[in-house]
């Protein structure tokens, strides 16, 4: 896998999440992801693997990543002035212009790709509403970056008390559903959207390589097999997935 060394142009904390920006000559499609790590081979041999991140935003040659520090890889990335990134990877959201008003649902760090998706929907003059679910108030700070979004928290410390689905009155009012979050949340969104709906889900899975080589990041499909979230996804039509 080819990595490109880039400088972190800006680093900002959004509650418990970190936002970093770097220059990248586009294009980046909403829902695509990048493998990223702190620069400095051979120090980068441990931790060994780069980490996958959905793009948070891409605008005028600046790519933005938003992440939560969970382990050594993200901790190093959080401190790095120079990082190494791949080119954009994977299949992103398929935007269906004729589907009508869209619902964008994000759970926790899964809100990330909704920013760039909203930007594209805005550019296409397509109407949408955003619904964001978090564990608590601290993790919900990023919601401030999504004007007009409705917010739910599991502990009730901000917005509606409950899951992201609890702050939506009726998902049937929407012609398109785009969602990203933990897989159990996506399963619930798929169920709520119902069969035959236009529903696109961005999945989360542990990833090794990011380019389809290791077959590590698979998700189960309805026909009993597995598909790779890095190459065939990370965004899938809901009907493809087994859960």
């Amino acid at each position: 896998m080819k990595f490109h060394k880039v400088d972190v142009e800006e680093r900002r904390e959004l509650g418990s999440y970190t936002l970093i920006r770097y220059r990248w000559r586009g294009p980046v499609e909403p829902g695509q992801f990048v493998m990223a790590r702190a620069a400095g081979y051979p120090v980068t041999l441990d931790p060994f693997l780069a980490r996958p991140f959905s793009y948070y935003d891409y605008d005028e040659g600046i790519a933005s990543l938003l992440f939560e520090v969970r382990g050594r890889g993200t901790a190093n990335l959080d401190l790095a002035h120079t990082i190494e990134v791949t080119a954009p990877l994977g299949v992103g959201f398929r935007i269906e212009p004729g589907a009508g008003r869209a619902a964008l649902l994000g759970g926790g760090i899964g809100v990330v790709p909704l920013k760039i998706l909203g930007r594209h929907l805005d550019a296409m003059n397509l109407p949408y509403d955003a619904f964001l679910g978090f564990a608590d108030e601290d993790t919900s700070v990023v919601a401030g970056e999504f004007p007009d979004a409705r917010v739910a928290t599991m502990d009730g410390s901000a917005g509606t008390h409950g899951t992201v689905l609890d702050c939506i009155s009726d998902l049937d009012d929407y012609g398109a559903v785009y969602a990203c979050g933990p897989n159990p949340m996506l399963a619930a969104v798929k169920l709520a959207a119902g069969e035959g709906s236009f529903c696109q889900l961005s999945v989360e899975e542990r990833m090794g390589c990011g380019n389809g080589s290791c077959n590590g990041c698979v998700v189960p499909t309805h026909n009993g097999g597995y598909v790779r979230s890095c190459v065939e996804g990370p965004v899938f039509p809901a009907e493809v997935l087994a859960w």
Binding site: F3, T44, F48, R206, M207, S213, C214, Y226
Partner: protein, 307 residues
């Protein structure tokens, strides 16, 4: 990708097959989608293991990072040999093509080898002997010399016209290597991943139980290559934690004729590894083929255990 010109001689000969560089991908670490990234790096191609019937593979999680490495448990997900052969042209990078095979039984291994005998696209076969033998209670085919002998002999009979590499795990590697050579293997791939386990302490459950790869296993693999190449006369393909051009050189110095790049291709551009290796050769005024086993001739040879 900018084509790089190497002034040094990178060519090696593996079982009578000329390779333009000593590098090849380790089985299961290079997808069709990533082939465009490796043009010009590898002297031979080696796609993911194929099995007689399609395999869905294991449920996720399948990979877990470990210190300087990763543990995987993919379960040989593959479309089966029919689908594999249909798609094989995609792996034509105008270099010799080796095919990694695995079966549940000796008969399946032999049948797969026979199936590949008349396919002109295929230069050689690698036997993935780290898969379970269902006729032996799920023990790996390379669990011991008797089992290695049986499967390698059957494959050599089924495929007399192409070189066969037996890929072995670290456990008992010297005895198994001897058995494979005696049974007719034309070469040995040393080593496969090392059995390993990761635990999710928060969830209090097993995360991934599978094989460890990456730089964490390099010293283990180097020792296996060194020990095995000292007791067999067939060529050894080194594999295990190769990340840099220096690593390639080390494996060859230890006795490898060719070297596989596996997990590290996830985190580095393999062109960089080849460039570093070429720089090493240039600095030392050597061609790649001259490196094999040099440490054995420098007077500092460590004792190789003999039974």
């Amino acid at each position: 990708m900018v084509a790089r010109q190497h002034v040094v001689d990178l060519a090696v000969d593996l079982c009578g097959i000329p390779l333009s560089t000593p590098l090849m991908p380790a089985s299961g670490t290079l997808s069709r989608e990533a082939l465009g990234e490796v043009e010009g790096v590898y002297g031979a191609m080696l796609p993911k293991t194929t099995t007689p019937a399609a395999r869905a593979g294991n449920p996720p999680p399948r990979v877990a990072e470990t210190p300087a490495g990763m543990v995987n448990s993919i379960g040989l997900q593959n479309p089966g040999v029919d689908g594999f052969l249909q798609d094989l042209d995609a792996f034509d990078l105008r270099v010799p093509l080796f095919v990694s095979v695995a079966g549940d039984t000796v008969t399946e291994f032999a049948a797969l080898c026979e199936r590949l005998a008349d396919d002109d696209r295929i230069s050689g076969v690698e036997l993935n002997l780290s898969c379970p033998n269902v006729e032996c209670g799920g023990l790996m085919f390379c669990a011991g010399p008797a089992s290695v002998d049986e499967v390698v002999a059957a494959c050599c009979t089924a495929l007399p016209n192409k070189p066969i590499l037996a890929k072995l795990t670290n456990e008992g590697v010297v005895e198994n290597a001897r058995a494979a050579e005696a049974a007719g293997a034309d070469g040995l791939t040393i080593i496969n991943t090392i059995p390993a386990l990761t635990i999710d302490a928060t969830a209090k459950k097993v995360l991934v139980r599978g094989g460890l790869s990456g730089p964490a296993i390099k010293p283990v693999a180097l020792r296996a290559v060194y020990d095995v190449s000292g007791v067999v006369s067939v060529p050894v393909v080194g594999s295990g934690g190769v990340v840099s051009g220096t690593d390639v050189a080390e494996f060859m110095l230890a006795g490898a004729t060719a070297v596989q790049v596996g997990t590290s291709s996830f985190v580095r551009d393999p062109h960089e590894i080849l460039d570093e290796f070429a720089a090493y050769l240039k600095e030392n005024g050597l061609g790649a083929a001259q490196l094999t086993g040099v440490v054995r001739r420098t007077g500092t040879v460590a004792t190789v255990p003999r039974p």
